[in-house]
């Protein structure tokens, strides 16, 4: 297949599946809480609807940065699609993309001029401490598999079995990271409802739709990375089943846990990281 068509196809698949999974997550959360909930395609419909909604840009926004930062989020997750499903590149690039995601959260909040956005911007910096687990996961994977290349990690797993069983605590740390990126998560302090919609508060209309496209791609990519890196070579149906199971698990946790305050959220993630790192090193030594 032509490289460009391969990239386009993967980006469209990531967007559509990511949107549907977000819708599924809301549906499951609603059922757990005893509500009928929105249809599964609601997130996808919302994304498209925002494009034709009336849009205006706040007077207090730092133009053109206010618009450019939304494009930045899309750029990094298109890059993640290229690094992941298209080329099977390095996990270090995924880490870099994730770090830039934090910068986008920070700058989207600060560029809008809204106090809610600014609070979210401060929280984005604060929660950067919780990125320790991701870096630890990469190091543990490298120590076990001897590589950070996604294709090589998949090859390693086809010979030695899934890494999920060899380094379960690293998988748990990555799962906590996935959890922190989901809407309504106990760790989602940058988008907590106590600060309205956080850094997205002043990004409405088409810019909100644009951000939602990138977030759907991001969700798909995080699940794809988890399944690829910890469960090895999977068929397309296995990927889909795995993504649905992970989304359902996240929905269950989100529906039954409160939103933590920033201090507790960061401390809890750092505690998970500590347990994960020490435990994984001990497991590697045994």
């Amino acid at each position: 297949m032509n490289l460009m068509s391969n990239i386009l196809l993967n980006v469209i698949i990531a967007f559509l599946i990511g949107s549907i999974l977000f819708g599924l997550q809301r549906k499951i959360m609603a059922r757990i809480q005893g509500r009928p909930g929105p249809p599964v395609i609601q997130h996808l419909l919302h994304t498209l609807k925002f494009f034709i909604k009336e849009s205006a840009f706040p007077k207090t926004a730092a133009m053109p940065f206010y618009i450019a930062i939304t494009a930045m989020l899309c750029v990094i997750w298109v890059a993640a699609v290229i690094v992941g499903p298209v080329t099977g590149g390095s996990l270090l690039l995924i880490f870099a993309i994730y770090a830039i995601h934090k910068i986008v959260e920070h700058n989207a909040g600060s560029s809008s001029g809204s106090p809610y956005g600014k609070l979210s911007c401060v929280r984005a910096v604060y929660s950067a401490a919780a990125e320790v687990p991701l870096f630890a996961v990469l190091i543990i994977i490298y120590l076990k598999a001897g590589t950070m290349n996604i294709t090589s990690i998949v090859n390693y797993q086809s010979l030695h079995g899934p890494l999920l069983f060899a380094i379960p605590l690293a998988a748990l740390m990555f799962f906590v990271l996935i959890l922190s990126k989901s809407p309504y998560s106990p760790f989602a302090i940058t988008k907590g409802k106590d600060i309205i919609s956080g850094y997205e508060t002043e990004h409405f209309g088409l810019l909100r739709g644009y951000l939602m496209i990138s977030e759907s791609i991001a969700w798909y990519m995080l699940l794809w990375i988890f399944l690829t890196v910890f469960l090895g070579p999977l068929s397309i149906p296995a990927y889909l089943i795995g993504m649905v199971i992970l989304t359902a698990l996240v929905a269950f946790i989100n529906a039954t846990t409160p939103l933590l305050n920033p201090n507790h959220s960061v401390m809890m993630q750092v505690s998970f990281a500590f347990i994960g790192i020490v435990g994984s090193i001990l497991l590697l030594m045994i």
Binding site: L3, M4, E54, C74, I82, G113, Y210
Partner: protein, 71 residues
Amino acid sequence: MDKLKTISWLLLIISLLSIGYALIFNPANWIVYGISLVAIPVSILSFGLIVMAKGRKEDEEDKRREPFIGY
């Protein structure tokens, strides 16, 4: 047509042309990566800026008269 719409149309046409170029002529990989990183996000954003609804001219005065003037 206002300035934003004109720029958006230009960006949309350029980004779609570059995607078409990469699809048809199959250039070197690094060029395709560059085109997809720039052209895909720009095409979505410019499309959004073109199709977004704008407030009615008659309502503009009411919006300006709001007591809330920002932070």
